[in-house]
C-alpha cells in the first residue's frame, strides 16, 4: 500500500499513525502536527541557477551580504551560514550540471525541536514552520548537533549570538507575502504552498514523460502563474517526503540526490527512537520517584557512612 503524504496527515489528525509510535506527548514535543502546513517544492530540473532567491532571501530577512568566495564586491556565500539562510549550489561533472537549493526542510518530526531543552525551536501549530525564539535560547547548540541537514547556524563571532535558520519568511505571511525565495523565483523551481498540494504536484511531475510539454506553476501553487515547459527526466523519488518522518519542504531532481549533497536517510525518525527510550524511563517520573524511595530506604537501613 502506498501511503501518500495526505493520508499520513489524515492519519495523524485522526490520532492514528503517530499515536501508535509514541503517543500524544510526542506530537506536543514537536509542536504538534500543523493544521495548515505550508512548505516548498524545489525542482532542480527547473532551476537555472540565477540566485534571485538568494538576493530576495537576504532582503526579506534583512541579512548582511557574505563574502566567502574569492571576491568581496557582492554577496557570494559558499554555504549556509549565520548570514545566509538559503543557497543555490551547483553540481558539475563534465558537461552535466545540476543545481540544488538548501534551506531548512521544516521536518514533520524536527530533531532540533525535540532536542531543544527550552523550547526555543518549535513547530508553529498552524503553519508547521519550525520557528526560533531567541528569548528562550540558551545557546547550547544541541539543535546543530542533531539536525540531519546541518541547517541551524550559530553566530560564532558574536559575543551575544543567536541561532539562525530559515523560517519560510513567516513574518511576511500576515502582509500577504510568503517565502521570498519562491516569490521571486522566475522559473517556478522554488514553489510555495500548502504541503498537500505541493506533494500532489510533485507526484504529477514524476508521472510526466521526458521531452513532452507540461504546465508548471510558478511562485505559489495556488495563486501563481503557470508556464509551459519541456519536461526533463526526473529521478523517481521525492526527497523530503519520507526522509526521517517527512518534511514540509520537498526536492525533485534529475541527478542523484547524494551527488547534490543531500544525505541518504531512513524513514523512521530518530526523534521517535529517542522518545521510545525516554518515555519508557521518565513518563510521569514514576520510575525515578520509585527509585528514590528505594534508595532512601536503603540508606536509612544501612546508616549514613561518614
Amino acid at each position: 500500500m502506498d501511503i501518500t503524504r495526505r493520508d499520513f496527515f489524515k492519519g495523524t489528525a485522526a490520532g492514528g499513525l503517530l499515536l501508535a509510535a509514541g503517543s500524544a506527548p510526542e506530537a506536543r514535543a514537536a509542536g504538534g502536527h500543523a493544521s495548515d502546513p505550508l512548505g516548498m517544492l524545489y525542482d532542480s530540473n527547473l532551476c537555472i541557477g540565477c540566485q534571485a532567491c538568494m538576493t530576495a532571501c537576504k532582503k526579506a530577512n534583512n541579512m548582511p551580504a557574505e563574502h566567502a568566495g574569492r571576491f568581496d564586491y557582492w554577496d557570494n556565500p559558499i554555504d549556509l551560514s549565520a548570514k545566509t539562510l538559503n543557497i543555490i549550489k551547483m553540481y558539475r561533472e563534465g558537461d552535466e550540471f545540476a543545481f540544488i537549493k538548501r534551506q531548512c526542510m521544516h521536518c514533520l518530526e524536527p530533531a532540533c525541536a525535540s532536542a531543544c531543552p527550552v523550547s526555543a525551536l518549535r513547530k508553529d501549530p498552524e503553519t508547521g514552520v519550525v520557528r526560533y525564539d531567541p528569548s528562550a535560547c540558551i545557546g547550547c547548540r544541541y539543535c546543530q548537533v542533531v539536525c540531519p541537514y546541518n541547517i541551524p547556524k550559530f553566530e560564532w563571532n558574536d559575543p551575544f549570538p543567536q541561532i539562525v535558520k530559515c523560517q519560510l519568511c513567516d513574518h511576511l505571511f500576515d502582509k500577504g507575502h510568503y517565502a521570498a525565495c519562491c516569490e521571486f523565483c522566475p522559473t517556478g523551481a522554488s514553489l510555495f504552498g500548502p504541503v498537500e498540494r505541493l506533494e500532489q504536484e510533485a507526484r504529477r511531475r514524476l508521472t510526466l514523460k521526458p521531452g513532452e510539454y507540461s504546465e508548471f506553476p510558478v511562485n505559489h501553487i495556488e495563486s501563481g502563474p503557470r508556464k509551459r515547459r519541456m519536461v526533463k527526466p526526473y529521478l523517481d523519488h521525492i526527497y523530503g517526503a519520507d526522509e526521517l518522518g517527512g518534511s514540509q519542504c520537498m526536492i525533485l531532481a534529475g541527478t542523484d540526490f547524494s551527488l547534490l549533497g543531500l544525505p541518504g536517510l531512513r524513514e523512521k525518525s530518530y526523534v521517535s527512537d529517542l522518545e521510545g527510550v525516554t518515555e519508557g524511563l521518565y513518563k510521569y517520573l514514576l520510575l525515578p520517584v520509585a527509585a528514590l524511595g528505594g534508595l532512601v530506604y536503603l540508606v536509612r537501613k544501612r546508616g549514613v557512612h561518614d
Partner: protein, 382 residues
C-alpha cells in the same frame, strides 16, 4: 575506626604555584571568549558545534567525577560498608569535577544570560534529554555540596548546623545516587538524536545504558587512581589496601560493557567499520584495545594483589572508558560536508585551567579539611 583528618603541610608548593599560572592563562582566554564570542577562541564550527569543552570537560569530566556515585552504590546498595573510608575523598573529587563541569558549561553556552530558562516550567521541553541533563547536573552539584558540607562545617566549628544537616543527610545521599543514574545515562541519550551523523560503531538505542556503565566504571577507576596517587604522594598506605578489593569489581563491569557493545555492533552490521582505517575506526580500535587490556590485566587475582598493578589497571580503564565517551561525542561524529574540528590552543588552555582548579582545589581541601583517612592516629578498618 580510623579518623578522617586534615593532612596539614604547606599549600603553596611549587606545583601549586605552577597550577595557578595555568589558571591565570586560562582566565585570560575566558575573558577573550566573553568579549569576542566563541568563534575567535575555539575551533568549533557549525558542523562540530560541540568541541573539547562539552566532549571532555562535561561529558568525560562528569564521568570521571562519578567516584562518589560509584562508591555510594557499592556501600549503600551492595552493603559494602568497609569501603566507607574511600567515600569522602571520592565525594570531594565528584564535587570538584561536577562544579567545574558546570563552569565549563557556562563558558560554552552561547547565551548564558538565558541559562535560567532551564528552570522555567513555561520554557521546559520535557522531551528534551538536554533538559534532563542540565537540570540534573545542576541539582547534583547542589547535592554534592550538601553531602560534603559536614567536612567544612566540622572545620568551621558550627556544630548546631552540622547536627541538623546530618539528620537530613540520608535524603541527599539517596538523591546523590539517583541523579547521576539519570543524567549520566541521558548524556548518552543525547546522541541518539544525532542519528545519521553518529557512526554506527557508536549510535545505538542502548547509548544511555553504555554511558551509565562507562560512568560507573570511570568512577571506580578514578577512585583507585586518586587513592593510589594520594597514597604515594601523602604516604598514606591505609586506603591503598582497600583498592585491591575494589579492583575485583572492575573486570566484571568491563566485561559486561564489552559484551553488550560488541553484540550490538555485530547486530547492526557495523563490525567492518572499525577496520576502515579512518579516525573513527582507529579511535574505536584504540578505545577497545585499552578496555580489553584492562580486562585481561585485572582478571588474574595475582595482579590485583599488587598496588602498582592495580593502579595500571585503573589507568587502562580511565583511558579506555574515557575514550569511549570522548569518541561517542566527537571522533564518531561526522556531520559531512567537509567539516572538521580540532581544538585551538585557547580552548585547550581553558580546559587545562579547569583541570588545574580541580587539582588545586583537591590539594588545598585535603590539606586543610578532614577528608582523608590517615593511618597515624588509628588502626585499620579494612
Amino acid at each position: 575506626m580510623s579518623q578522617a583528618r586534615s593532612l596539614g603541610g604547606k599549600v603553596f608548593t611549587i606545583p601549586f604555584i605552577l597550577g595557578i599560572l595555568v589558571l591565570l592563562l586560562a582566565f585570560l582566554f575566558t575573558v577573550k571568549r566573553f568579549v569576542y564570542g566563541l568563534g575567535p577562541v575555539s575551533g568549533m564550527n557549525d558542523g562540530f558545534p560541540w568541541g573539547l569543552w562539552i566532549t571532555y570537560d562535561v561529558n568525560v569530566g562528569t564521568a570521571l567525577a562519578c567516584g562518589g556515585y560509584s562508591m555510594a552504590i557499592l556501600i549503600y546498595i551492595f552493603n559494602k560498608g568497609e569501603y566507607s573510608p574511600l567515600l569522602k575523598p571520592a565525594v570531594l573529587t565528584s564535587l570538584l569535577g561536577y562544579t567545574l563541569a558546570a563552569v565549563s558549561i557556562f563558558i560554552d553556552i552561547g547565551r548564558y544570560w538565558n541559562m535560567f530558562n532551564i528552570f522555567m516550567p513555561w520554557h521546559a521541553n520535557v522531551h528534551s534529554a538536554m533538559l534532563e541533563v542540565a537540570a540534573c547536573i545542576a541539582a547534583y552539584v547542589l547535592v554534592l555540596w550538601i553531602e560534603f558540607a559536614p567536612v567544612f562545617l566540622k572545620r568551621l566549628n558550627i556544630p548546631d548546623l552540622e547536627s541538623k544537616l546530618n539528620k537530613m543527610l540520608f535524603f541527599f545521599i539517596a538523591l546523590g545516587m539517583l541523579l547521576p543514574t539519570m543524567h549520566q545515562s541521558s548524556l548518552g541519550s543525547l546522541m541518539i538524536l544525532a542519528g545519521s551523523k553518529l557512526s554506527p560503531l557508536y549510535w545505538s538505542k542502548l547509548l544511555p545504558f553504555y554511558f551509565l556503565v562507562a560512568a560507573i566504571l570511570l568512577g571506580y577507576a578514578i577512585v583507585i587512581f586518586e587513592t593510589s596517587v594520594s597514597g604515594v604522594a601523602f604516604n598514606n598506605t591505609h586506603e591503598v589496601r582497600l583498592l585491591r578489593k575494589l579492583s575485583g569489581v572492575v573486570p566484571w563491569i568491563v566485561g559486561i560493557f564489552l559484551l553488550f557493545r560488541f553484540q550490538d555492533i555485530v547486530a547492526r552490521d557495523a563490525f567492518h567499520l572499525m577496520f576502515q582505517g579512518d579516525l573513527t575506526g582507529n579511535m574505536f580500535l584504540l578505545e577497545n584495545l585499552l578496555l580489553v587490556a584492562a580486562l585481561v590485566w585485572l582478571i588474574p587475582a595475582a595482579n590485583r594483589r599488587s598496588a602498582k598493578k592495580v593502579l595500571w589497571g585503573a589507568v587502562l580503564v580511565l583511558f579506555g572508558a574515557g575514550l569511549y565517551r570522548f569518541n561517542a561525542y566527537i571522533t564518531g561524529f561526522e556531520p559531512g560536508n567537509g567539516w572538521h574540528y580540532f581544538p585551538t590552543v585557547a580552548e585547550l588552555l581553558i580546559t587545562f585551567g579547569i583541570i588545574a582548579i580541580e587539582i588545586l582545589g583537591y590539594l588545598w581541601i585535603v590539606k586543610r579539611f578532614p577528608v582523608l583517612h590517615l593511618p597515624e592516629r588509628s588502626g585499620s578498618t579494612a
